[in-house]
């Protein structure tokens, strides 16, 4: 700050400046803390302390009905129990199958986005239509699809019979088809979000590239694979990660649609966790499951960090 040419001037211009700066930064510190205080207090009390408590409770056999007297440490028992628990395996397996929703929804969304972006009128109208399931509550959606999927006289099976299927699937009532039925709904609800993000990504690709490719005589299909797809890779990667993380968090839909049934065929980790915690009242065991879920999501995020550097072209 100070350039010393003569001692006198340096003192005169320098020292008030310095003290003013000090005051300023002291004031900034206070102001900064005050601005973030409400957020920080809420986050610490409602998220950070609970996650630490979750970690502690996961090593105990506690249930919250018995009060503090019933608190005993059991070491890693809850975790070893998870390794042997068939219902947990089933839920984890279902979660992994559900990840299949993500590429399907992404592919459909990309096709729609490219078509809408390039070759249609009424862009806004289409955006709104495909976005509708995204704004509807999962409870209403679950109730709606429960009726649509009705095995005997629901509209879906009515349609399938009318085009010649003698015995259409029983959908949610059949353990073999229940998970697929849920996944169809998940594709339907996530399509709009994926499409909107892809549309935004497409807007960012400069037109010059396509014009240059036109001049070189590249076919539209080739342009798609050589220009559009590579330049959308950050978008695709973002959607892949948010989709995978999101598929681990589907609770409302399962709860209202199937309650994990029939025969556990649609139970997922978050739903099983809810059952163990609030129906069987095993707080310790449920917390251990929560910690495992957190670790799974952290792994996906870690994969994102590493992957972004390796596979995404910016």
């Amino acid at each position: 700050m100070e350039v010393i040419t003569e001692e006198g001037t340096a003192k005169r211009s320098g020292s008030p400046g310095i003290s003013k700066m000090r005051k300023q930064s002291f004031y900034d510190n206070i102001a900064g803390y005050l601005f973030i205080a409400p957020m920080l207090i809420l986050t610490v009390t409602l998220v950070i302390i609970p996650i630490l408590l979750s970690g502690v409770i996961s090593f105990s056999n506690w249930n919250f009905v018995s009060g503090l007297d019933g608190f005993g440490f059991v070491g890693l028992d809850n975790y070893t129990r998870l390794v042997q628990d068939e219902s947990f395996h089933r839920s984890l397996y279902n979660n992994l199958i559900m990840i299949g929703v993500v590429p399907v929804a992404m592919f459909l969304a990309l096709v729609l986005a490219v078509l809408i972006n390039k070759a249609t009128y009424f862009k806004t109208f289409f955006k709104v239509i495909y976005f509708m399931p995204f704004i509807s509550s999962f409870v209403a959606i679950a109730l709606l699809w429960r009726v649509l999927y009705h095995p005997n006289n629901g509209p879906i099976n009515g349609f399938l019979r009318s085009i010649g299927f003698e015995h259409p699937p029983m959908w949610l009532a059949d353990p073999k088809f229940a998970l697929v039925s849920v996944m169809i709904i998940m594709v339907w609800t996530s399509l709009g979000f994926n499409m909107v993000i892809y549309l935004a990504g497409l807007q960012n690709i400069s037109r010059d590239l396509y014009e240059a490719a036109d001049v070189d005589g590249a076919s539209p299909l080739r342009q798609f694979f050589r220009i559009t797809l590579p330049l959308l890779s950050p978008t695709s990667f973002f959607l892949l990660i948010t989709g995978v993380v999101g598929s681990f968090k589907v609770f409302d839909l399962i709860m209202v649609l199937t309650g994990g049934g029939p025969a556990g065929s649609t139970s997922v980790i978050v739903y099983y966790l809810y059952e163990v915690a609030f129906v069987n009242l095993e707080s310790g065991y449920a917390s251990a499951m929560g910690i495992i879920l957190l670790i799974l999501i952290l792994l996906v995020t870690l994969f994102q960090w590493v992957g972004q550097k390796k596979w995404v072209n910016y």
Binding site: D28, M39, Y121, T124, S137, V256, I269
Partner: protein
Amino acid sequence: MRSIKLNRVIVTIFMGVAGILFIMPFLWMLSASFKPELDVMKYPIEWIPSKWNMVENYKQVWAGAVPFTLYYWNTTKVTLMSTALSLIISAMAAYGFSKIIFKGRDILFLVVLATFMIPTQAILVPQFIMYRWLGLFDSHFGLVLLAASGVLGTFLLRQFFLGIHDEIIESARIDAAGHWTIFMRIAMPLVQPALATYMILRFIWTWNDYQNPLIFLRSDSLFTLQLGIRKFADFSGEFYSLMMAGAVSAILPLLIIFMIGQKQVIEGVAMGSVKG
């Protein structure tokens, strides 16, 4: 030129058909809520009801055995309060994290951001216990605090605050304006579109939330709409026309808000994600 136009018309028509197929479930829901129960499951589907029973159905939902009006009011109250509180807290934190230089800022921001990855289900048990200790269990205020504790708003708004040039802030400070004045008079008006976006998103999410009311509410008089339609569905069991009328009632207000603010929502979702 002409062939391109024709192509566009053809693709538009094709996409229109796909779009109608896509929202068919919603159309079916609306049409079912207008029919007498006996006609709901008829095949072929009567898209336009031959017999209308609309008034009767909606009367059953709104003035029947389940206090739907009360649930509606509860949801409206919780949603408005959550949205307002969340907006203020998030905007303040976003400003602090982007425009004020203080000790430990970046570390604290990282910590706040890291909580974003924690799935809500992993902390349900301790939250539940804490809520009982703190006396927040079974209260609307407790739900409002939960909704406001999300960090997404802070993250989203910070992105937009970062886009404000520091020179503007600096010159205001030379004119002896404090941070609060700058935040209220300069920063907030500049990020209005982002505020509107986050407001609408927060509104939609809180309105539709099922998990938190399910866990943190016990008294029927405090129930929100989502718990209400679930209860209504169990209550009216196989009356699909009534169930659909309930579902339509739950979705309709959001649909209206979305239609008004669709540009904000869609652009906001896209911007927040592509930028981040």
